[in-house]
């Protein structure tokens, strides 16, 4: 107890140094908490962006189609008749579903051409699954049977298109024969999803089916639930229902999508990087202990003469370093909490900060990015900061305690 008291008195001895090392740790802790909150917030927003404009909560597709989904094949499609036999609405949390025929196309304005993703949709179904209705910046949604398209405002800007302009979608049908869809631009949307803004052209489903020669088939059906947490249960229920209709159909949850799985790996990588930042704090602690030991060599000698054992002197240094870790950790946690509170409540307008449209960098954000509370991050990083401080002082502590007492006493 007395040694612990002495260790904490020693912390006050070199206040500036203690504070400086504490602040290094505090910065690392603060940065980790802020970064974690921001990443969690961005992930949440990106999940919402993907769920709201691409995947919904569940997707029904043939498993063979799903394996090649990136290529948007026109094989392994689902006949709509089959799906009509399935009562999707009985699934827990069901809010709506949208049949979708996705295809590769080139969008031509008469002068220039860009590769795009065509989505044949039923307007009412689309609106029941994706919150597009308030995302129209110009024009409106088409109706089935109309030769009209809706696309992202950004894509329209790239091809210098306005409402009422005519475009041509160059496609290859199911038999690989070239075909075109001539259509008028009826609406422009701007969402928080960069894929929708930059690459997607919505086409009435019947027009798309006819141009692609796929009959009454669709690529997949997207289902919206009340909450994303209902996806596992709803998925199981839906699979049971589908098994009776078609064995090759499968249900894919929102988090089965590659982009979301990848974001988790990215988060793990970021934590390793932040771990390295805390290790730098550990090096600061080692440096501090060595410096303190050199300055207090005569004291170490005196304590050894008084009969203190090596482990007791090591304990003294370890307690001092742990004290710095506690101090830095607490400052970091308090500052981090304030920052997260601000980010959760007010968000940060990165787009305004960098004066750029963040969606053009693939960041699925329009306007402000909001943070997310993650108590685990607070606990983990605080414990890690204290543990790093504790562990990194043991070896230099031994180095100091093992000094010859006579030389230590005579040290100048």
């Amino acid at each position: 107890m007395f040694l612990t008291k002495l260790a904490f008195k020693n912390l006050a001895r070199h206040r500036t140094r203690t504070l400086a090392v504490g602040l290094i740790i505090a910065f690392a802790v603060f940065f980790y908490i802020m970064y974690d909150s921001l990443m969690a917030g961005m992930n949440e927003m990106s999940y919402e962006a993907i769920i709201d404009y691409e995947t919904g909560h569940l997707q029904i597709a043939a498993s063979a189609y799903w394996e090649e989904e990136e290529k948007l094949p026109l094989d392994h499609l689902i006949p709509l008749d089959l799906l009509r036999m399935t009562s999707l609405a009985e699934v827990q949390g069901y809010q709506g579903s949208s049949a979708e025929l996705s295809f590769q196309a080139r969008l031509n304005n008469g002068i220039n051409e860009l590769p795009v993703v065509g989505r044949g949709v039923v307007p009412e179904e689309l609106m029941s699954v994706f919150p597009l209705s308030d995302k129209f910046v110009e024009g409106k949604m088409f109706a089935l049977g109309e030769h009209k398209v809706v696309m992202g405002k950004r894509l329209a800007d790239l091809l210098d298109l306005d409402i009422g302009d005519f475009v041509t979608l160059l496609v290859r049908d199911k038999h690989s024969t070239f075909n075109t869809i001539e259509a008028e631009v009826s609406g422009l949307v701007h969402t928080i999803n960069p894929n929708v803004n930059n690459f997607v052209v919505y086409v009435p489903l019947d027009i798309a089916q006819e141009a692609l020669a796929v009959g009454d088939a669709v690529s997949k059906v997207v289902v919206r639930l009340e909450r994303k947490e209902q996806a596992p249960l709803a998925s199981a229920q839906l699979e049971d229902k589908l098994r009776a209709v078609a064995a090759d159909l499968a249900v894919y949850k929102w988090d089965d999508v590659d982009a979301i799985s990848f974001s988790r790996y990215a988060a793990a990588e970021n934590r390793i990087i932040l771990g390295i930042i805390l290790l730098i704090a550990g090096i600061a602690i080692i440096n501090t202990v060595i410096l303190a030991a050199l300055e207090r060599m005569r004291e170490i000698g005196t304590m050894k003469a008084m009969g203190l054992e090596v482990r007791e002197i090591v304990y003294l240094f370890v307690m001092e370093s742990t004290g710095i870790g506690l101090l830095g950790g607490l400052i970091g946690v308090v500052l981090g909490a304030l920052e997260v509170w601000y980010m959760v409540r007010h968000g940060i307008d990165f787009a305004a900060l960098v004066q750029l449209d963040m969606t053009s960098f693939g960041v699925p954000v329009v306007g402000r990015i909001y943070g997310k509370w993650n108590p685990n991050a607070f606990i983990t990083v605080f414990a890690f900061a204290v543990a790093v401080s504790f562990l990194s002082s043991i070896l230099p502590g031994y180095w100091a305690a093992a000094k010859d007492p006579i030389q230590a006493i005579q040290h100048r």
Binding site: F2, R298, T302, M306, G307, L308
Partner: protein, 235 residues
């Protein structure tokens, strides 16, 4: 039985390939309660002898028995235990812990023993501070004390645990003559009142006047060992 018994104690320091003998066969016996001054010119081996007696170093040859225990066979932990329980040190430069008050510096030594409850401990520390004339100064830190006061704190720290032996290496070297006398009088008083054995090194003739026994060292050997009354001590 003598409190301390040295037989043929030698210490050789190796400086590269050169062996430098500091002590060349010391025979010395010190009884409990003695007040002994070790004197001699610089480099004669006084400090080396005190270091060996104080269990801070091990001799190259010879035997050293303290309170019936042969010290040569003890490891570092064993030597630390002897120092903690039985030996008090007084240093030339006081060597107080600067972040602790006078009270805490003295308390530190007795805390290591884990023998006293809180009340006993406080009484003992306050008594010791009063005995060395530091009543009322217990809350001062070393930088708020004069050299003499610091050395009194060091004496109190050395004595508070009631050690069998107190070793003092040139305890008055950093003090003026008046303060030196005051500090020595405190040491003599504690020797008489508590019966603690004192061994201190010095080369100041005025300091030697306080010693009951004078041991002179020259070139690593005891050249004379006599009591204040002139009687020669035989080994």
């Amino acid at each position: 039985m003598a409190l301390l018994e040295l037989r043929g104690v030698a210490k050789v320091y190796q400086q590269g390939r050169i062996a430098v003998p500091a002590l060349r066969g010391i025979d010395l016996e010190v009884e409990a309660g003695e007040f002994v001054a070790i004197f001699g010119p610089s480099g004669s081996g006084k400090t080396t002898l005190l270091n060996l007696i104080g269990c801070l170093d091990k001799p190259t040859a010879g035997t050293l028995v303290f309170d019936g225990v042969e010290l040569i066979g003890l490891d570092q932990k064993g030597l630390a235990k002897v120092r903690r329980e039985n030996i008090g040190f007084i240093f030339q430069s006081y060597n107080l812990i600067p972040v602790l008050t006078a009270y805490e510096n003295v308390e530190f030594a007795i805390r290591l023993l884990n023998r006293h409850d809180k009340r006993e401990l406080r009484e003992r520390v306050m008594e010791m501070l009063a005995a060395v004339g530091l009543e009322g100064l217990e809350n001062r830190k070393p930088n708020e004390l004069s050299g003499g006061q610091k050395q009194r704190v060091a004496i109190a720290r050395a004595l508070v645990k009631e050690p069998k032996l107190v070793l003092a290496d040139e305890p008055t070297a950093n003090l003026d003559s008046k303060t030196s006398e005051e500090v020595l009088e405190v040491m003599v008083k504690m020797n008489k009142e508590l019966g603690t054995t004192f061994i201190f090194s010095t080369h100041d003739p005025r300091v030697m006047e306080y010693a009951a026994r004078l041991v002179e060292i020259r070139d690593g050997l005891i050249s004379s060992d006599r009591r204040r009354d002139g009687a020669v001590v035989s080994h």
